[in-house]
């Protein structure tokens, strides 16, 4: 049996068809409800208007940086330290009573901001300081560990002009410790802005663009701010691109 004539392709067709048709037997009322709820007049703002809003936000951020105007840092962060992988693993085991087990992500729920904050039990920071940031969705969930400990997390999805910004906030059970990183990939670096430290990850296709920024606040919440900008022409995956540095800095400083 040659590769061209083996049973792989019919097997794939049958397995995928069976899987998809059993998993999705018909329309899902939740989809219709969410689409109709989301199709509000506000959501219909024209692309041009959103572009203008984005341009104004970027210009404002650049002017502030150029003139040295003091933009209050949105948050104060713990220092970021690089530690050997073994030390990193050892700390994890100590924190979880000798367990090296994994945390399980619990199913997340879409909710309102106040409800998400109540469930999380910590102050959820929002992009209040970013002009034109439109909160699209709030999701709250948690992570459970083998030792039974549970830590809450909140995910905020924003639209800022043509760019989507996702802010994931997860409580660290050890709020007073630095954010430990087991080494840095070539496209990662640590920046100090306004006395706070941030881990920047750059786009692999265009190092001038930022894909995400991670940090841990002094009250013990780990942030991952992810950017989904317009598609980069060098990226063959067809996926979104990053954002320029000023935009990323404006976003993390706009958190409060």
């Amino acid at each position: 049996v040659t590769h061209e004539h083996d049973g792989l392709e019919p097997m794939l067709r049958a397995a995928l068809d069976d899987y998809a048709s059993h998993g999705i037997r018909g329309r899902r009322p939740a989809v219709r409800d969410r689409v109709l709820a989301g199709a509000t007049p506000r959501a219909r703002r024209s692309r041009r208007v959103r572009r203008v809003v984005l341009a104004l936000a970027v210009v404002a951020a650049l002017l502030a940086l150029a003139t040295g105007a003091a933009i209050a840092a949105g948050v104060l962060t713990q220092p970021i330290v690089q530690v050997p992988v073994e030390v990193w693993q050892q700390h994890f085991a100590q924190e979880h009573h000798g367990s090296t087990g994994k945390g399980t992500i619990q199913p997340a729920q879409v909710s309102g901001l106040a409800e998400a904050e109540r469930r999380a039990g910590f102050h959820v920071r929002t992009l209040q300081g970013v002009d034109g940031a439109e909160l699209v969705q709030v999701t709250s969930g948690s992570v459970v560990f083998q030792d039974g400990s549970r830590e809450p997390e909140v995910d905020l999805e924003y639209q800022v002009g043509d760019t989507r910004v996702s802010v994931t906030e997860t409580r660290d059970p050890h709020p007073n410790t630095p954010l430990e990183v087991p080494g840095l990939a070539p496209n990662m670096h640590i920046e100090t802005i306004g006395g706070s430290q941030y881990l920047f990850q750059l786009d692999t296709y265009d190092p001038a663009e930022v894909r995400d920024v991670q940090f841990k606040t002094t009250d013990g919440v780990v942030f991952s701010v992810n950017f989904f900008g317009p598609h980069h022409p060098d990226n063959p995956s067809g996926g979104p691109g990053g954002v320029d540095h000023a935009f990323a800095v404006g976003a993390v400083r706009g958190l409060s």
Binding site: L8, E9, A15, L16, S21, R28, V35, A39, T104, E180
Partner: protein
């Protein structure tokens, strides 16, 4: 109501157009999103978001062309974003010294056909882009050119990714690829 009228309704901001397009395209889109993400709740998120994107960006849709392929492109890109977002979330857990458990989808757990279960498991192991290409090629039975148009990739990229995906699947499945659905060996 025709699809063309429904699209025109959308351009005018009328929700009746959305109702029609959802009735026509929702199930197919859910199945594609489900096959790519492997999670029913994620598939619902993907399709709801894709309809909203279509609604907001209908001005970019070229009149007179079929809505389905344009919408499917939004769905697949959105599904790929969901996978990337989930990987980013895992990076946050990694920074906390954690790793998430990938609990298998309930349907994979109850799949009684052992060979088919292994096939689904092997598809799940593919890189997201390859999984998307395999889904369009074998779930929707699209030819390579249509897959390329839907995903916005050059045809050569589609060929390469499908070839790589099939090689990986053959490698993982071994002798299983010569079994038929009933578990009998193919001649």
């Amino acid at each position: 109501v025709t699809e063309e009228q429904a699209v025109e309704d959308l351009r005018l901001g009328r929700e009746a157009g959305l109702e029609f397009l959802m009735a026509e395209h929702e199930v197919r889109a859910l199945r594609v999103a489900y096959a790519i993400t492997g999670n029913r709740a994620s598939a619902e998120d993907v399709v709801a978001e894709a309809f909203l994107k279509a609604y907001r960006n209908i001005g970019r849709f070229e009149a007179g062309r079929p809505f389905g392929p344009w919408f499917l492109r939004i769905v697949t890109n959105e599904a790929l974003q969901v996978i990337r977002r989930s990987r980013r979330a895992e990076r946050v857990y990694a920074l906390l010294g954690r790793q998430s458990d990938r609990t298998p989808d309930p349907l994979e757990q109850v799949e009684t056909n052992e060979v088919r279960r292994r096939v689904l498991g092997a598809v799940r192991e593919l890189a997201p882009n390859e999984r998307a290409a395999v889904t369009l090629r074998y779930l929707l039975d699209m030819d390579e050119r249509s897959v390329a148009e839907t995903l916005g990739w050059p045809v050569g990229t589609v060929k390469t990714r499908l070839h790589r995906a099939r090689a990986q699947l053959r490698d993982r499945l071994g002798e299983d690829v010569n079994m038929d659905a009933s578990g009998e060996r193919r001649r």
